[in-house]
């Protein structure tokens, strides 16, 4: 009976609409703080504009001559790789593979940068050579700086 009369009783329809609107407003009021709560908090680690590598140019050189590479270090909360090119140039990369975000390894013996996860290969310039990586590695600015003790340290800064 209620259903039969509802189209012709605007007061009842108005009540129903008001109830529906109140329920919708309540649901929104409940979910809004929950979604805001779930959202990750803003980063608490400040990202430095530049960072000094934990090894010197000489140390990097001797490691690479043995066919080894130093482990990646933290720059801007990302693993940073530094490569000493055969011509003596330095290169620094964000070590996160452009395929699915594994951390890549420098292989001085092979003269390439390799990703263990899906056999992605980059050359020492960070360009993808074979395997799944779709884009080159992100490059950072890198330069040498003389320390008072006469060592050459490696300074990495953001590319922009």
């Amino acid at each position: 009976m209620m259903e039969a009369t509802s189209p012709s009783t605007p007061r009842r329809a108005w009540l129903v609409r008001t109830l529906q609107a109140s329920v919708a407003a309540s649901v929104a009021a409940i979910f809004y703080p929950v979604v805001r709560f779930l959202w990750p908090r803003r980063g608490t680690v400040s990202s430095a504009a530049e960072v000094v590598a934990p090894f010197t140019v000489a140390q990097l050189k001797s490691l690479q001559e043995k066919g080894e590479a130093p482990p990646p270090f933290n720059f801007d909360n990302k693993p940073c790789l530094v490569v000493l090119m055969p011509d003596g140039d330095l290169r620094a990369y964000n070590g996160i593979c452009t395929h699915v975000a594994c951390t890549v390894t420098v292989r001085p013996g092979h003269g390439d940068i390799f990703c263990n996860c899906h056999n992605g290969v980059y050359d020492l310039n960070g360009q993808p050579v074979s395997g799944p990586p779709p884009r080159p590695l992100e490059a950072y600015k890198v330069f040498r700086r003389k320390t008072p003790s006469g060592q050459e340290e490696i300074v990495v800064s953001r590319s922009t």
Binding site: P7, I30, P33, R36
Partner: protein
Amino acid sequence: MSLAALDSPPNRPRWTARLKEFLIDRLGLETFAELAAKKRVPIHRSTVFYFLGGMALFLFGIQVVTGILLSLYYKPSPDQAFESVRAIMTEIEYGWLIRSIHSWSANLLIGVLYLHLLTTFIMRAYRRPREFTWITGLVLLAMFLAFGFSGYLLPWNQLAFFATKVGTDITGGVPLVGESMLLLARSGEEVTGDTLARFYSLHVVILPLAVLAVLGVHLYLVQKHGMSVPDAAARRYGGPEHVPSMPFVPHFLLRDMVGWYVALGLLAALAALFPWELGTKADPFGAAPEGIKPEWYFLFMFATLEQTPSHVFGLENKQAVVLFFSLVGLVVLAVPFLDRRADRGGPRPALSFLATWAVFAFVVQTAVGLGLLHFGLSVSVFVSGALAIAFRLLMLWWCALDRRRMSA
């Protein structure tokens, strides 16, 4: 297709009807529909008491949701627990709201459960065939008290640290196995990071699973036996089957939901006006904080522990108190079997008097725990007993008055 579209009512799209039919058919929803249609709620003077169980269920739901949310940021280790709760209160957006609602809702839940227990006793709803509903309800109450106790430690603040120390120490008062229980509860001789991990597991894994199981049985029994009708209402209408009733779905459920909505508003208001405190980080070698007290629902035991002399009948203070409250618990558990005239609707003067006394003792002891009254143990026993006698006499006079009015 076009013919079918013409047949269907104009303001209801055809696909919703088909979806409904599909779901009913494939999921067997008609079983639930039949159950829902059968469930009815009696209408009488005490109908309002029937809301308490549903209210407890709703508050438990709030605890589950807010608890899961808090677990996303909480870190259960002595190095990080306090800091992570502080981050929830200060850094995470609306973290203060979620945590405060969790704490307030826990307190309201225990309060509602105490009232649920009391009103079930008053309505004598534990009578045959509802003995197991009563017993599972008491088990659930014990579990929720354990929930409150274990959750209290998790922020790892000074108050919680000592509350846990004292609370677990009391288990050492259990005869024979006390010492082993104490070691088991603390995971060692002292309250340490292992205790925190243990309480965390208890609070978020063990108790929730156990509560879901027992709650399932409790709700099944409520559904199976239907709502109990108090004697007075049954007499008034000439038998419990003649008491008027309303369908649970949707009439009573909608009333339930109004209550839940009000409770949600109350929780939000309490959380906004009185956000839960965090205190200072636990220092195992610091002194117990001044004026340290447990939550209100444990205060009556706390006060009794304080008032009881160091030795009673050759028992140590905490042994005597643990023994006493264990006996009280057993008596409450046995109520359906102690009320032997329940079936014939006969009176239960001894039980009623003991229950009245217990309620007054609870109130008096809570006031003592709050520091509002400064009574010794014997004064507490005497005052609550006297209040109980006075209350029973008042009730007798009231009933006599009622009967005279009825016969006149």
